[in-house]
């Protein structure tokens, strides 16, 4: 009988899983359910908001992807899950029978619980309709307040600034990008935003979105009011777990999955921003809500759904972004100030830091001679090599003096890779090991 694979969600994880299933099981029935009409790249929304990309440039797969791959795509919301019957109920009344199910429902923006937050004119930046809603208001908008100094908040702020708005960012934390950067690196970006005309207030506690017919401003606990016509919320996201209600699927913050991305219920898998999976740095399951992780998890989950036992290596805290032409890549927990979501105390015992040229800043965090975090600002090319050394927990003592000058040089670190070749199982690394071993 033809296997029936059902995927809930059509973003990074869902699409990647669908493609993998189709590639390896040409005859299987693959169905993707999405509550969004089209599949587009959510991380590109800020580029769309800024006017750098048109709507037709948001596709990360060809528009005829589903047709071409023979994947059925249903535009509906999954509203019920009955694992005992292996069925999913959809908002249009359909019932889908599955042999294997993938939950790739993603995450939804977290709105602070303050007065007026649901007022018209308050937007997240997670869905195309959010960006469209903001754009529709632009003609009558002069001032914007962004709640949150994280990645989405700052990307939205930069985009709105480019649209000519006066933009104020209100940040709870002591500095921006607190989930990505340490204080000294974050200050660099606070300065860049200020230089580009975006006002940033840290340690700001908004208590209300003011207005009657239209939004008038955001009020802080101090009583201070920032007048504005539109509010964008970038306060992080929460996994979408509605579908789990009434099912025995184990969850913590997200859907708990094992190293084969299986949930606690047979034949149901999870991937992407909804899945709490192995984290190589934390040693406990975690959600690193990041595009590359979602794509990889979608593929690994699909391979396991196909019965090809494939273990997931695990994700880690990392990110890459560019603001006003200045790129930054950071990875690792040590970068973060200790806190509930951030790093833990004692995460590092040494830091290396350099400013080799104007606009270039590098900082590497070490623990027991192993890289546990880094931040590269301005020149990011070495990020991939540093990241793999960190991920594979390689003792870098022999090249410590050179780490900050590393540049993109894989050659410099090849001897360490040869020494720990059992940790570099990828075919390409093994080829390199053999090549330099002659």
């Amino acid at each position: 009988m033809t296997e029936r694979y059902v995927i809930i969600g059509a973003s990074a994880a869902g699409s990647s899983a669908a493609e993998t299933l189709r590639r390896h099981a040409p005859k299987a029935q693959v169905t993707v359910v999405s509550d969004e009409k089209i599949t587009y790249s959510k991380p590109l929304l800020s580029y769309y908001l800024a006017g750098h990309l048109g709507e037709e440039q948001l596709f990360f797969r060809a528009p005829d992807f589903y047709e071409r791959y023979g994947i059925q795509r249903i535009h509906a919301r999954a509203v019920g899950l009955r694992p005992e019957k292996s069925t999913v109920e959809l908002s249009d009344g359909q019932k889908l029978q599955y042999d294997k199910l993938l939950l790739a429902t993603g995450a939804a923006p977290r709105f602070p619980k303050i007065e007026g937050i649901r007022r018209e004119g308050v937007f997240g930046l997670r869905k195309l309709e959010d960006a469209q809603g903001i754009l529709a208001r632009l003609p009558s908008t002069k001032r914007a307040v962004v709640l949150g100094g994280g990645l989405v908040g700052l990307k939205a702020a930069a985009a709105l600034k480019e649209r000519g708005l006066s933009v104020t960012v209100l940040v709870d934390s002591p500095h921006v990008l607190s989930q990505m950067l340490d204080e000294s690196s974050a200050r660099i970006f606070e300065k860049i935003f200020e230089q580009n005309g975006v006002t940033i207030y840290t340690k700001a506690k908004p208590v209300a979105v003011l207005g009657t017919q239209h939004i008038e401003g955001v009020q802080l606990a101090s009583g201070e009011v920032f007048e504005c016509d539109v509010v964008v919320v970038g306060k992080g996201v929460d996994p979408r777990l509605e579908l789990l209600e009434g099912t025995p699927i184990r969850k913590d913050y997200g859907v708990l999955v094992d190293d084969y991305l299986r949930t606690s219920v047979e034949n149901i898998y999870a991937a992407g921003d909804v899945a709490q999976a192995r984290d190589v740095l934390r040693g406990e399951p975690w959600i690193n809500a990041l595009w590359p992780c979602a794509v990889e998890q979608g593929r690994v989950a699909a391979l396991n759904m196909l019965g090809r036992a494939m273990s997931y290596r695990g994700s880690m805290r990392m990110n890459s972004v560019q603001f006003f032409g200045v790129p930054v890549i950071s990875a690792g927990l040590a970068v973060l100030t200790p806190g509930p979501l951030g790093g833990r105390p004692g995460e590092h015992d040494e830091t290396l830091e350099s400013r080799p040229a104007p606009g270039i800043y590098r900082k590497i965090f070490l623990k027991d001679e192993t890289i546990v975090g880094f931040v590269l600002v301005g020149d990011v090319q070495a990020a991939g090599v540093l990241r793999i050394l960190m991920e594979r927990r390689v003792n870098v003592a022999p090249i410590k003096e050179e780490l900050l000058e590393l540049g993109p040089d894989l050659g410099r670190v090849l001897p360490l890779i040869v020494e720990h070749k059992e940790r570099f199982v990828e075919r390409e690394f093994q080829e390199l090991v053999q090549t330099v071993g002659v």
Partner: protein, 173 residues
């Protein structure tokens, strides 16, 4: 699939491959015009010194010319938020029209093989060079004066590595 490899015993670190690569990726593909006309961008292949002391001696080589390995699955393809980075007939290619310069691929490539320069630049296996005359259809391989660079499968390259090293002139008639 044919890929490019470098024999560390033969590579003398002359960087001829780098300049050939950089020139190949200019509009004129001409060394003179590229350099004097200011067209020259970064090479997508870089000669790297293998190891720091004390490893250099132990490994027995001095330099190695490295670029994209065209991995499968490719972490850069997974990481790409636009679909610019993609696989095509086994090759890993970047559609620079689509690239927005988010550098997710730079973060994900464990080989440091992607150069962030407005767009993500990487080895594209010289797509416009097909059919041109020369010793090799790859600019870097053709430019290599010591024949350290090799185009073929890894199995074929392994056979090269298994052979004792010969000077280029010893092989000539």
């Amino acid at each position: 699939m044919e890929r490019l490899f470098c024999d560390p015993r033969r590579c003398v670190g002359c960087r001829a491959c780098e300049i050939a690569c950089a020139v190949e990726h200019t509009p004129s593909k001409d060394l003179f015009r590229s350099v004097l006309g200011g067209e020259l961008g970064p090479p997508r292949r870089r000669v790297q010194t293998v190891g720091a002391e004390p490893y250099r001696v132990a490994i027995g080589g001095v330099a190695l010319s490295l670029s994209c390995h065209h991995c499968d699955p490719a972490p850069c393809v997974d990481a790409c938020i636009t679909g610019a980075m993609h696989k095509e007939n086994g090759q890993t290619l970047c559609d620079t029209e689509k690239c927005v310069g988010c550098w997710m691929c730079v973060m994900s490539c464990p080989y440091g093989a992607i150069t962030p320069r407005v767009k993500a630049l990487k080895c594209d296996l010289c797509p416009d060079r097909r059919g041109r005359t020369g010793r090799s259809r790859y600019a870097c391989v053709e430019a290599c004066p010591t024949e350290a660079l090799f185009a073929g499968t890894f199995e074929e390259f392994q056979r090269v590595l298994a052979e004792p090293i010969k000077a280029v002139w010893e092989g000539a008639q």
